[in-house]
Amino acid sequence: MSEKFPGYDVLGQADRWDDVTKGVVLRRLGPPPALRFFTPDEEAVVRPLVERLLGLEEAPECHVVEQLDAKLTEHVGPGYRHDDMPEDWEVWRQSVHALEEDARKRKGVAFAELDAGTQRQMLEEIRTTDGDWHGLPASKVWSRWMSDLCSIFYSHPLVWNEIGFGGPAYPRGYKAHSLSAAVEPWEVHSVDALDPVRWANRLAAAKERQR
């Protein structure tokens, strides 16, 4: 996987951000909190689960599991609960146990002992399940997983570098936002903009890796 925005570092702009925003964003670079929500047994399932769901084999270290654990400990919810689902933190705990149970029953070993390909296969089966999985609506479990993980992962400035995002923009604002000039002097052009054929190739390669 080659870099798409070679040399881009959004943190180079941090001294142009307001102090309150800087405080919130830079905190994500600090040491991660210790786990409080997940037991060691659950942690053993959650780590590979998160790695597979976000494709973390190649990624900057940004402590997704620790951030997730903190969120579940603090009961930070989205502002609603489906009437056929328990609270978010319960969804995580129950689904982690269910995944481990599936692994042991069907593959004879712990989820963590399976190779990445087999783990992906098991997860894809859950994603495509109609109706319930271990008593919970499979599609809603899947949405909860992806929503919680994406909102943690894509809040990290090192991950913004990977996607070319310009990040916070107050009080500076953006100047280049038209077809004739879409990239600020401090941003880095997408490699694809120079060679558009590469989008289809990149996507095909990602799909291959996912198999």
């Binding site: 309150v20 919130v24 964003v25 976000l54 494709g55 989205p78 609603y80 038209s178 890796r209």
Partner: protein
Amino acid sequence: MNRVRARNESAWLLPNDGTRTNHRLRADMRRYDDTEEVDLAVVGCGAGGGVLTQRLARAGWKVVAFDAGPFWDPDADWVSDEAGSHHLYWTDPRVIGGTDPVPLGNNNSGRGVGGSMVHFAGYAPRLHPSDFRTASQDGVGVDWPISYEDLEPYYVAMEEELPVAGQHWPWGKPHSYPHSPHPLGVDGELFVLGCHRLGIDVRVGPVAITNGRFGNRPHCIYRGFCLQGCKVNAKASPLITHVPDALAHGAEVRADSMVSRVVLGEDGRARGVEYFRDGRPRFQRARAVAVAGYSIETPRLLLNSADARFPDGLCNDHGLVGRCVMVQGAVQVAGRFEHEVRMYKTPPPGASTEAFYETDPNNDFARGFSLQTVAPLPIAWAEHVAAEGHWGHVLREYMRDYVHWAVLGTLCEFLPLPHNRVILADETDRYGLPVAKFLYSQCDNDRAMMGAAKEKMEAILDAAGADDTLSIERYAHLVGGCRMGESERTGVVDSELRTFAVPNLFVVDGSVLPTQGAANPALTIMALAARAADCMIRRRD
């Protein structure tokens, strides 16, 4: 003094030194004692409550506006960051159900002074004249007890006070806007290009974001984080458009105060509200009460205010409280372009078309939809990608391609249906109050419309040169739940937003809308509040 300033000085009461809050005005705010009978207690300080408070304070009323959340200071409380803005949303427990459950929280529910307008995108269109008579004209929905003409002067007033920027508007009743249109981002340019190639009429705006200095509010700086609260004071919310003037005229905004009950006297009239502040239960006496908590919390408060006279909930003799809550079908379609788009730079609200707003006999559904640019930031973009079932390496690849995508959204006029309602759940919140349960299920007309809107967006992106598309099914906005009607058998409130059941109790928020059109609701809610204020002042005189 100019015309707008003469009726609402808010924009001139903000600081012009680069900070965003007039702390002196807040420190000097008049404070009423619980035992003093104020003229009006307003529950909720968003689009409805904020405007109502300002209008009545100007007319000399003693008004206390309660809000369960904080009295925001954009400098200290808001950030240019998606994940760091969770505190702007109403995240107290709520339950959702039905065949098409509607997520709440960040999607449609605000908390704190300014309400959900603090994190709304900024689109401020009017309804069309046809929206007020869909039953007689299109055979669906219900007719309003008022007409477009009743609301029109208040639309004009609000567009001046926010102010709204945009091109001349050719749809509904054609009209102009006080501020000229903003420059578009690349996603907006591509939307306009696609529409032009297909012969679809499209316009820039209408957005409640300053384009030029307005009082002490500066020009928009194009930073893209409109949905995270505007740190610039450029995007309108009642926090800056109406609350400052209300304070200057003697109103009190009582933040961090959760109203738990509207209390009636033996004479059947409201005598005040019970609320919690700093953990203590309190009671504010008032000559009249206006509930402005929006489509979930307003019905919840009325239902939680049941007493011997109203055993099924206040004003609920006919089972109408909490009924016919509406959301708009808001599918979004993303298109991939060779050119870099970087849609995160300009305000997400760029351009719109209302060319498909009205009933078209060639369609297999009644009423219609609007199309707009939406421009999700990375976390919202990840939801798009995940909604198509992508995960792992494929998710990451789509995400890495973020700067190449432009996203369009629709607002489909879903119909008011009695089974779409707010009731009380068995569980309680931290105050011990039963929480709201919101049930939602679409009808065939809703589904057919959403399918048509999705096809139209795909065609526009295709015409603009997109080489790949993704889509996500979602919902936007909330209205209804305490609709206005001709009589107590058809509405909770009358055309002046006064409840039929209690003569000095009003509902002044989005929950009074009988139908919703395909327009973002903020401007209509504000216009209705300004009109209700005029009615209240006239009635008292």
